[in-house]
Symmetry: C4
């Protein structure tokens, strides 16, 4: 065994063994954006509960007690759960995108900012929908709710398209199949949310149901499978 | 001393000395979920204080001053402290579970999401209980409060069962005794919270007291002991 | 190849390859301040949405429906978007400054604390402006809004001046051109915000528009270019 | 140069150069507690702004405009700034303590939890003080405000005493002078806050002033000096 090999193996010992993507300054920029975004997701998902208010004791009235007052608030619980699952699913998908990205540029920063804008906005349409779900004007609230989903779906699509066009910001050896799968997902996602938006003028309940189903669906799809994980190891794999 | 040994020791120098679990991509996924969850725990625990409102100057009335108005709010302080300790204990136990886990899958993601749903929800039953503790309908508020505790205890049990069944997501050489102890804890925990839930129909105060005691108990039990810590070193220990 | 060279290369393998700034204790202090600041930025940006309230069903009145009530709230959306972009731009610039800094001292801590004070304050002028934009007293709200921007611009300038005077807290081999560019930016930024402040007494809309444009401009300028990135590699570059 | 030396230097290259405290599992526990606490500090400091409410347009009345309504809110701004500086100072001191600590135990966890309880509680006395500063009952609000400061000062003292008694949880070679200085600080801090508490019955303004001065003072004292930094390098220093 020659000295050169010792050095090579020692190099691998230092960086390869831990199977991390080498932390270039650019990589560290994406980590930074990702951590900031994670903070925003975590806060937005926790603020949703502020939309559920405690019924005032003096408003309980003669007819019913606290139990029925709480039950009458069911649109708030439904909206809370729907938005919770949605933001969680968007967090999962955000991570999925970032697991492929190794560079950033101005455009990427804008698209990510636009996405976060819609995420932080989400507690408002959630509270709006909860307030008006049983009101004659429910369709307006439902349209604002589904509209926010449409907007964030388009922001996601823009983020991904910007990053993946010609593999601009991606790792060098991406799994083509995964990339195509994500591209497909972002092609049809916005269309389906547009359908939910249109549905809100017919039946708000149906529209919210579609949004809920899609959130669950995207949460499943978005979680890195083993195939994805192997992508995180390009250097390691090549070296072997 | 041969060259092979040099390489081996140099390898150990690079990874073993720092006594970290090697960061495989899968490990990094669990770290990511844990950090996001930590954010949610930290925010939920800090939002609790928003449930304590400042008495309006114009509501002080003729009878009493600010001091008595503040004292009359004691259910808010009690609820605040109880929920604070509970969320802190759940955070401690969440970490304890994650110290054993090295892989994730879809099911794990769901169970963790369900758990976080109940954690972020907790400020609502806390404020509800505080508002109604001295009201004739206190039992309803107490049942919602204890019910949320039951639900989160079951989510914790589900998370642990999913992860530990056949050691599916655990580190390879877990300390069997620790694992059994946690499994026992999650077997009896939900039952005891169910008892607190039943108690809430008899005496809300007693029910809250049981919840508080259990939070303190689980916070103690959940903190990694030295025995746990040794588990984090399987590679290191084996290599020696 | 001699043994000395092996050691040298092995050293590089261990630290140089990952292209990180060596983590001295001082460096770890700046990381700590940066992460705490990031948390504050992320929370402040997410709290903005709490300034947008759901119109009460009983306030909808006879004249208009929910749709027109939501449209009438447009100043809230405008203020939300403006403050969102501003805080995001300030986060980007905060990172830019920190990418040059490797030491901290008491003065730096104070300036950073002052900056965070204005950042956490920002949800208040945002809500104020939104409430009064169509009110006869809009100029007062606009002045408070633009005034907060002026104050935070001066805090930024102070932070940068303190850190860069004689290169006090900077990395040892900074790119002089970048440094000069940032210094220029912080020389003219506060002046332009002062102009926006003066404008608020003439036209609040114009003043807000200037603030919005400057936020977008600074977000672009602030993002590390490749030239900046090369600065993060002084050790690495020197060693080659 | 012998092979043994190569190995030794390569070892140093891998771990010593980056000058980090070796990350034992116990160390990683303290990092975890510290990061969670940091999150709580960051959120509590950002929630303070929610205590400042926008004056309602319909409450402006005939007598004065928005400007005077905003000026009349000065107690809110004062309380906001005082609490902001206090929480920032407590964060700085929290870090200072953690820079000496390398082990945790149950008691440490309790003391830290108690401290965080008072930190998350702080937005309430802040809002209370702001609401009642110009009210005849200001003394009550001032006592609650200063009382919370006393309580958190005692929690800090308890945390430090628990950690430092016989050097229980400290790094092995602490700088005795630094340790003594911190111990002194925590001996007199609670007493001074007790004095501020007593003062609140004489003059609330004076009491708040003392609290503010002490926050500034502790922020200065708490920031690690170079002497502290050298403590973080015990292994590194010994090896040289």
């Amino acid at each position: 065994m020659g000295n050169a090999e010792i050095v090579a193996m020692s190099k691998e010992a230092a960086s390869g063994n831990s199977a991390k993507i080498p932390e270039t300054p650019e990589r560290s920029e994406t980590v930074r954006i990702e951590q900031f975004s994670d903070g925003v997701f975590a806060i937005a998902i926790t603020l949703l509960v502020l939309g559920i208010t405690v019924p005032k004791a003096r408003d309980l009235g003669a007819g019913g007690g606290l139990g029925s007052a709480l039950l009458k608030q069911w649109p708030h619980y439904l909206a809370f759960v729907t938005s919770f699952i949605t933001i969680l699913a968007k967090w999962v998908n955000h991570h999925r995108i970032f697991s492929f990205i190794q560079r950033t540029d101005h455009g990427f920063l804008y698209w990510n900012g636009l996405l976060l804008l819609f995420i932080t906005f989400m507690p408002f349409p959630t509270a709006l929908l909860a307030e008006y779900l049983r009101h004659p004007e429910a369709a307006v609230a439902g349209a604002v709710f589904a509209g926010t989903y449409v907007a964030s779906a388009f922001a996601f699509k823009g983020l991904w398209n910007h990053a993946s066009r010609n593999g601009r910001l991606l790792a060098r050896d991406p799994d083509e199949r995964e990339i195509r799968q994500i591209t497909m997902q972002y092609r049809y996602g916005p269309l389906m949310y547009l359908a939910a938006f249109a549905l809100s003028f017919v039946s708000v309940g149906l529209s919210v149901g579609v949004c809920l189903c899609m959130a669950v669906f995207f949460a499943v799809k978005g979680w890195p499978t083993l195939r994805t994980a192997s992508l995180l190891l390009p250097t390691f794999t090549r070296k072997r």
